[in-house]
């Protein structure tokens, strides 16, 4: 795959924007279908896809809105191909009903959300991390999704590929969360070697449809992920967003069927959380203060921690790469020796809530908020660290 893409692009080393990195990530991950609708600061994703996808004989279509885009992506995914869409806040809000559908119907798909200042049309060209809670809780009902937040252009590319893998493995929508800063920032990237792209079996079935249970658990590694068969193979797969039994048939008034299904949708990911939860730590062994960050904010946060260490302050840094699911157990353990946690976010406090929940009353949790577009400066975060009283 990588060689085919390098041949097409003409080189392996590129100097590109974060938005474009999602395009190359998708090409390398064998994404066969893209549907989107232009919106700042995510438009470059659609533009990049429009350049490369047809040259590879893959589908790229600009739909009439974001609802149609995610709907077409889910439809494409039902035929067994990898599919992606890209948007920003207003479009992400429109997509929420379909994202819930993909959770309920267990249809893999990748959604790139390049965050901008909200609410509403807000600040189209300015960076923000205002969609953290919406990413997890934007659609109605109990569910679990996976969201990844890169900090650099290279990592954006790598995590886009990973998003496709996780989405296929867990049969769940995966959101790649950038922001206007990272989306438009240019950095050097190297196209990675991509192996092991899973090819779905294309064998026709002769199974009796009433006996085929596409939503039966205990097939794959974490045992609660169903062994789904895509369209066109004769399995007579029925997919619905209504509460359904193991055959996929609607059963909408049984508490038991509903509870069984919805808890499985959550547990299939949480039972296996250590395999989907990525993070990085820095100088945490003797830390008494911890900075927890994600996305672009991790860059000034890391610098601030370094500055503070030079002043002899015992501070460490945890960078959440997987921001959802939130790994309560692991984070609790990482924070067991600290008395203060500082959470820099480009919003007025979102990721701080599960962090507060996990540490309880004994640990002080301080928000370092910033909205309006500019990212935190290292000095600004350093100041929060310096002001901590033991």
């Amino acid at each position: 795959m990588t060689n085919e893409i390098i041949r097409l692009v003409g080189k392996k080393d590129l100097f590109i924007q974060g938005d474009e990195a999602t395009v190359y990530g998708a090409l390398l991950a064998d994404c066969k279908f893209f549907a989107g609708y232009p919106i700042t600061p995510a438009t470059e994703v659609a533009e990049g896809m429009a350049i490369w996808m047809p040259k590879l004989g893959r589908v790229c279509v600009q739909m009439e809105d974001e609802i149609a885009s995610i709907a077409a992506v889910i439809g494409a995914s039902c035929t067994g191909v990898r599919a992606m869409t890209a948007t920003s806040g207003p479009g992400f809000s429109l997509m929420q009903e379909c994202i819930g559908y993909a959770c309920m119907a267990e249809t893999p798909c990748v959604i790139v959300n390049v965050q901008r200042g909200g609410p509403s049309t807000g600040q189209p060209t300015e960076a923000a991390q205002g969609d953290i809670m919406q990413t997890m809780w934007g659609t109605h009902g109990d569910h679990q999704i996976i969201a990844l937040a890169p900090k650099s252009v290279q990592e954006t590319l790598d995590l886009t590929i990973e998003a496709f893998n996780l989405s296929d493995d867990y049969r769940v929508p995966v959101v790649v969360l950038l922001d206007a800063e990272l989306g438009h920032m240019r950095e050097k990237v190297v196209l990675p070697e991509v192996k092991n792209i899973k090819v779905e079996e294309k064998i026709k079935s002769n199974i009796e449809s009433d006996n085929f249970k596409p939503y039966r658990k205990h097939f794959k590694k974490s045992s609660k992920i169903p062994n789904f068969k895509h369209f066109g193979l004769g399995y007579k797969t029925y997919i619905t967003g209504l509460t359904h039994d193991e055959r996929g048939f609607p059963v909408t008034t049984s508490a038991e069927v509903h509870e069984d299904l919805v808890t499985r949708l959550i547990d299939k990911i949480l039972d296996d959380i250590d395999n989907v939860w990525y993070y990085e730590d820095y100088l945490i062994d003797d830390a008494e203060i911890m900075v927890i960050s994600y996305g672009i904010t991790s860059r000034p946060a890391a610098s601030a921690v370094k500055m503070a260490r030079e002043k002899g302050i015992k501070v460490g840094h945890i960078r959440l790469i997987t921001i959802w699911p939130f790994n309560y157990e692991k984070i609790k353990e990482l924070l067991k020796n600290v008395h203060t946690v500082i959470v820099p976010e480009m919003n007025l406090g979102q990721m701080i809530h599960p962090i507060r929940e996990v540490v309880g009353k004994d640990v002080k949790v301080i928000l370092a908020p910033r909205i309006g577009g500019a990212i935190h400066s290292p000095k600004e975060i350093f100041k929060y660290i310096g002001e901590v009283k033991p």
């Binding site: 494409a76 009433d210 369209f231 066109g232 609607p250």
Partner: protein, 275 residues
Amino acid sequence: MSFISNKKIIEKYLRKGMFPTIFCTGCGIGGVMNFTLRAIYDLNIDIDTTVFVSGIGCSSRVPGYIDSDGLHTLHGRAIAYATGVKLANPNLNVIVFTGDGDCGAIGGNHFLHAIRRNVDLTVISINNFIYGMTGGQVAPTTPIKSKTSTTPYGNIEYPFDLSILAKVIGAPYVARWTTAHPGQCISSIKNALQKPGFSFVEVLSPCPTFYGRLNKMGTALDMTKHLKESTINVKLYEKILAEGNTTDKMVIGELVNTDKEDFGTKYKRFCGELK
């Protein structure tokens, strides 16, 4: 017209595990499902490579009862999902079942744009002039003065004509019939299935439970009779027009049948030219 018994159609095409259906006694939806399956039978279409897509509503429950791949999506979004299915795998026959509200209100924009793109779909819209699933509210197709649960004093809004809309935007195949025209319906669905590009078949259908009851239209049989009487065949209609006369009746028949390259074929050709 196919000479095959209903029993055989049920045996061959229906998903027994899903029965009984949710449809009320006298509802026209089951009939439209039957017409569609007869068209599929007559054309010998491979059911294993056929996908039925639908939105939300009584009409959108049809794919659940057919033993094939089925995608029961969200209210209004069937055509957008179907676009993804068809473009991702052009070898699949994609048939959409949609209610008049699903297609013309919440899903109206997807309907227009799929026609504009000319995606190769067969869209069968069951028009009962009301929202059946949610208990009889006004639809974009509800005639003026008709009573619904949200127009208790009679509807004052102008209705949409879905078939004329499809025709004006440029769908290469458009036909409209009522459930009182089984033979014509089957034959139009056959034409629609064979037509590359967006084909639209609207079937006017009785909802005795809500539209009939709220408007005191009698039994399902009375409603079917009424549908027959309040429509006029396009050939007769054109004759009346030519004679300088006019009519309030709804025009039925094959309204458009032309050829136009479909989006998927065009896209594939365009990709080939880029290489």
